[in-house]
């Protein structure tokens, strides 16, 4: 697993999540923002399942 830097990838995924969540916080309730952020967060969750959740296991 040495060639994959899981910790670095997990950090970037966390940054994506924070950015998306912050975007929703400042959207003022614009549905075109909030609903698209929800979809982005669903995709970010898949990144967490595939990468971030492995931190500490390997």
């Amino acid at each position: 697993m040495g060639k994959y830097n899981i910790e670095d990838m997990a950090q970037k995924i966390e940054t994506l999540k924070q950015t998306a969540t912050e975007l929703k916080r400042i959207s003022g309730g614009i549905q075109a923002v909030d609903r698209n952020v929800d979809r982005i967060l669903a995709s970010i969750k898949m990144l967490e399942i595939n990468i971030s959740d492995l931190v500490g296991t390997i």
């Binding site: 994959y4 929800d38 669903a42 898949m46 399942i49 595939n50 492995l54 500490g56 296991t57």
Partner: protein, 445 residues
């Protein structure tokens, strides 16, 4: 192909066994805590059992957690919030998709999907399709009725996720679907085994098209019923289409949980997303070693709206003797896929009979057609079992020779004697989706 290019996720799919088990424990604890905190159904179930999520400290502790089964889901769905009941673990307004089970074994179970859970479904299928060799240059045809049943919906979105071009063959009839596949030079297909064979038959008989020569399909995902795990049926499908046929298993309540790799040497459990246990049907003890069949108890990780924890699926499975697969995946394998269902396996004349064993015999005899029908009735106190088969029009040996072969193989594989009926080719019922070839009529008499 570089070694890692055969995997959707090379890290998870080749994780050493011990680390995979650590991962399973972490994931199990997460979903258990989620269900306990968010689902009235699970919280009540666990409180009645005196169980707190913190009680689970090892994978062995998992067995302390009460099992669930379909009847419990149906009961929970009689309560609010309608229609999902007390298993629902997210606010109702977060549900974005409705699905339901096929109802093969009774009242359908309703299944809610949030956008995230639906993304999960596509993700889980992507592991399988990628293992079969689906890539962004494939044109994938889906000949199923896009409706309330989950069927191949997630396959559609997983193929998109991989980058394939997806052709939804929903409302077309069988002939139109075949012609569309030919017109667009589709390279991959997803369908039930029954329909895969049925389409090939329609292509040859009604359109004069030989799917193996005149179409371009080279990869087929077979799901929805046993078939691709039955050697005789798999061989027929692969020969009819000139394609590799891959077995895939799943259920609405569980999600997609197992797939074949290109080695076609057993069914890999999708252990990135599930914990699978096997229990002895009679004693309930856990089976950890190969050599004994049992009922599958499955937990799905990371699917949050309608958690599936220690669900007794009634699928009959058995661990594969060899742990290592030549594909390099460390996901454990099952021998022969799902070999039956606990509620299908029935005692006939005192012998345990799995309908898939009959199919294995019928489809291993080339002089017989794909279709068959089995009916068990009671004559007085004695079970009476009739098997109807079709003789192929061009069968070389006479009916007596085929009958002798059939009798011998049935006795060998099932230990039973049958009344055999030979019918003209094309006269037994054909099915488009899930077949109903086994009829136990004893209880009605």
């Amino acid at each position: 192909m570089k070694p890692d290019e055969q995997y959707w996720n090379p890290i998870l799919e080749t994780l050493p066994r011990q680390k995979l088990q650590q991962f399973h424990l972490k994931k199990f604890k997460q979903i258990l805590a989620w269900a306990y905190e968010n689902s009235p159904f699970y919280r009540r179930l666990y409180k009645e059992a005196g169980l707190e999520p913190g009680d689970i400290k090892t994978l062995d502790d998992v067995r302390k957690v009460p099992k669930t089964e379909k009847s419990m889901l149906r009961e929970a769905q009689r309560r609010e919030p309608y229609p999902y009941g007390t298993i629902l673990s997210v606010p109702l307004e977060q549900v974005t998709e409705y699905r339901q089970t096929s109802g093969t074994t009774g009242q359908p179970v309703y299944h809610p999907e949030t956008w995230q859970d639906w993304e999960w479904s596509a993700e889980s299928w992507a592991y399988a399709l990628y293992a079969y060799g689906y890539r962004d240059y494939d044109r994938v045809f889906l000949p199923f009725g896009y409706s309330v049943n989950i069927a191949f919906w997630a396959g559609h979105y997983a193929a998109e996720k991989i980058g394939c071009e997806v052709i939804p063959g929903g409302v077309l009839d069988t002939e139109a679907r075949i012609l569309k596949m030919q017109e667009l030079k589709a390279t991959a297909l997803m369908a039930t085994p029954t329909y895969i064979l049925g389409m090939a038959d329609v292509a040859r008989k009604r359109l004069g098209i030989d799917p193996a020569k005149d179409l371009y399909i080279r990869k087929i995902t077979a799901a929805g019923e046993p078939g691709a795990c039955i050697p005789g049926t798999k061989k027929r499908m692969e020969e009819a289409w000139g394609a590799k046929v891959y077995d895939q298993v799943g259920a609405t309540e569980i999600g997609h949980w197992g797939f074949e790799c290109q080695a076609q040497a057993g069914l890999h459990v999708l252990e990135a997303f599930h914990l699978v246990e096997i229990e002895d049907i009679e004693t309930g003890t856990t089976i950890t070693e190969p050599g004994k069949k049992g009922s599958m108890v499955v937990t799905t990780f990371d699917r949050f709206a309608h958690p599936c924890i220690r669900f007794d699926s009634k699928d009959i499975i058995e661990w594969n003797p060899e742990e290592k697969c030549e594909c390099g995946r460390t996901f454990r394998r099952l021998k022969g896929g799902v070999v039956g269902r606990a509620d299908d396996i029935t005692k006939v004349k005192g012998v345990l009979l799995a309908p898939t064993a009959i199919e294995e015999v019928v489809r291993s005899i080339p002089e017989l057609g794909d279709e068959y029908e089995v009916a068990v009735i009671k004559k007085g106190d004695i079970d009476d079992i009739t098997l109807k088969v079709e003789l192929m029009p061009d069968a070389k040996p006479g009916v007596e020779a085929v009958e002798a072969k059939l009798v011998q193989q049935l006795r060998l594989k099932t230990g039973l004697r049958y009344n055999l009926e030979f019918h003209d080719y094309g006269t037994l019922p054909r099915y488009d989706v899930k077949s109903k070839r086994f009829k136990d009529l004893r209880r009605k008499e």
